[in-house]
Symmetry: C2
Subunit: 339 residues, 2 copies
């Protein structure tokens, strides 16, 4: 792959920093590297391949010469600055929700719908973390036999709410350990030793924003606009990997053995399913891993077409940074278009 | 109510201590109070109504004059000593799994099947904590319209594994806060900042013991031997309340408004369901409360007969000690049998 000039927007955030680590880890051919952030972070430096790189101000003029711009600074900043990056000739991989449901923007998990990359018009959306992890885990089953319904309850880590939320969880356990009152400013409720319904607005349909993202994004990626999904999104006191309890209703029966074999051969999945050792997917083990861990693969004893599983995936990696870099890797494999 | 002589077996355990607190809180008319435990705890004292009570050795001869014996020292000790308590004339409320599925032993949540108490033969079983909390929350809906299927994913606290497990979670966050390596001896995996599939043996059917208890005990209490239930039981880093994400398939449609009204009128339930304030059931708020908190009551958008909810209940109270004391209160209301 030819070296690419890279810009990382939101470089000092939890996902931005992980993008740098994944670019290193994948030995991605980075030409010039530009780190962009808001005023507050200008002057800081971040290490890349052992060298300090200064953080520059995010501005419309900052994208000159950029081949690929990773955006991870929230939907508002994406809406403001993605057009400038596009105009400067960069291909944008956007981790925010700004363009995910735009019909002209492909929403891609490379293990699921890499073909959608071909119709990009300068912007590719990176899905919501919960949706990306769920999609990776159940797509091979959907391909094999067809999914009729998904009931999913999540166990979502603090990292989904950013670096400040991770620090808040750590601060709270420190306060608790020192016998001090436990305080919170990032989350609406104490997260240490607690859990709560996902801290996004509940819409008129009774589902919060996170749950509605899971429904809509799964349908878009699966090209299944009516796929029935019942999500319950819950925040738990875990630092950086999301877990998901998944009940599937399939179009035809599939034994746990068949499912295990299909998932074992599928890309991006690691089977962690050892009943004898009582060893199944755990966020602590999934943290730092590019693969999504899948286990507890078992029959739904109440439905011949049912199958249940438990999933854990690193929210910052497959749920964000790794999926974004993976999209960039896939883009480089596409045939060069002749204008 | 006439004063009753009470024995608490396993008095120094997490549930045993809570039984004392609930007896105080309910102003239960306690005559003589006997605290029984294994050799290790003999010599300790526990406070009851401000006075120290010595812990005595659990032995077959210890139950003379006891009216009600609360057992909470595990299934092995229940199997060994319940017959002696019964022979001494005590009525036993057993918190272990030893007799729950025995056809001659009623398994009771007083809000659900108080009538079953009438056919007791000296022993009443207190259900598994997850089953007790789930049963309390969904029984009123089952009564109103009939439940066709339950899919439940749990978020279970450390207290379910006893006082030592609660200490292990606290020790681990302390170790983490002090930058020390995090160690574990009670649970098979680190629990702080982690979660894992319930630490009981996985049976041949693919479900662990906890999940199979939920299935079997719900069916017994509901007098619905074939009630379809798909449980996934997960341990989370929370101290003492269990949460449950519940998807119900009903025999007929029920609107969230109807369900909320039915649950609001039902005993043992507190509705915590405020989408505007993003305030729903949380283990931290359910801790210490006798009621089961129910919220996120919403339609399953994929099924006209579907309904979803989120539940939190104190594992040590409704899941154990309070349900046991409540059974004793109900027993006292029964007409005295004439031999």
């Amino acid at each position: 792959m030819q070296a690419k000039n890279i810009a990382v927007v939101g470089a000092t955030g939890a996902v931005g920093e992980e993008i740098l680590r994944v670019l290193e880890r994948r030995n991605f051919p980075v030409g010039k590297l530009k780190l962009l952030a808001s005023e507050r972070s200008v002057g800081k430096t971040l290490d890349f391949k052992g060298k300090p790189v200064p953080v520059e101000l995010l501005a419309a003029g900052a994208f000159k010469g950029t081949d690929i711009a990773f955006f991870s600074a929230g939907a508002t900043r994406s809406r403001e600055f993605v057009p400038a990056a596009k105009a400067a000739g960069a291909v944008v991989v956007d981790n925010s929700s700004a363009f995910r449901m735009d019909p002209n923007t492909p929403l891609v998990v490379p293990e699921v719908n890499p073909g959608d990359l071909r119709r990009h018009k300068g912007v590719i959306a990176n899905p919501n973390c919960t949706a990306a992890i769920l999609a990776t885990a159940v797509w091979p089953i959907h391909q094999a036999v067809g999914i009729r319904k998904i009931v999913v309850s999540t166990y979502q880590s603090a990292s989904g709410a950013g670096a400040a939320a991770m620090r808040e969880l750590e601060d709270q356990v420190r306060q608790y350990a020192e016998g001090k009152p436990v305080t919170h400013t990032v989350f609406p409720h104490q997260i240490a030793f607690n859990l709560f319904s996902h801290n996004t607005k509940v819409a008129e349909n009774g589902y919060n924003e996170e749950e509605n993202k899971v429904i809509e994004e799964m349908r878009k990626m699966f090209h299944a606009p009516d796929l029935p999904i019942l999500p319950t999104c819950i925040r738990v006191p875990v630092l950086r990997a999301h877990s998901e309890s998944v009940a599937l209703e399939l179009e035809a029966p599939m034994s746990p053995e068949e499912a295990r074999e299909i998932l074992r051969r599928a890309p991006g999945i690691k089977i962690v399913d050892d009943p004898v050792a009582n060893h199944f997917p755990m966020p602590l083990e999934a943290s730092g891993d590019l693969d999504v861990h899948v286990g507890r693969i078992r029959r739904d004893l109440t439905n011949p077409n049912g199958l249940a599983l438990f999933v854990a995936g690193d929210q910052l990696l497959k749920g964000a940074a790794w999926n974004a870099v993976q999209i960039a890797e896939e883009l480089a494999k596409l045939p060069v278009e002749v204008a």
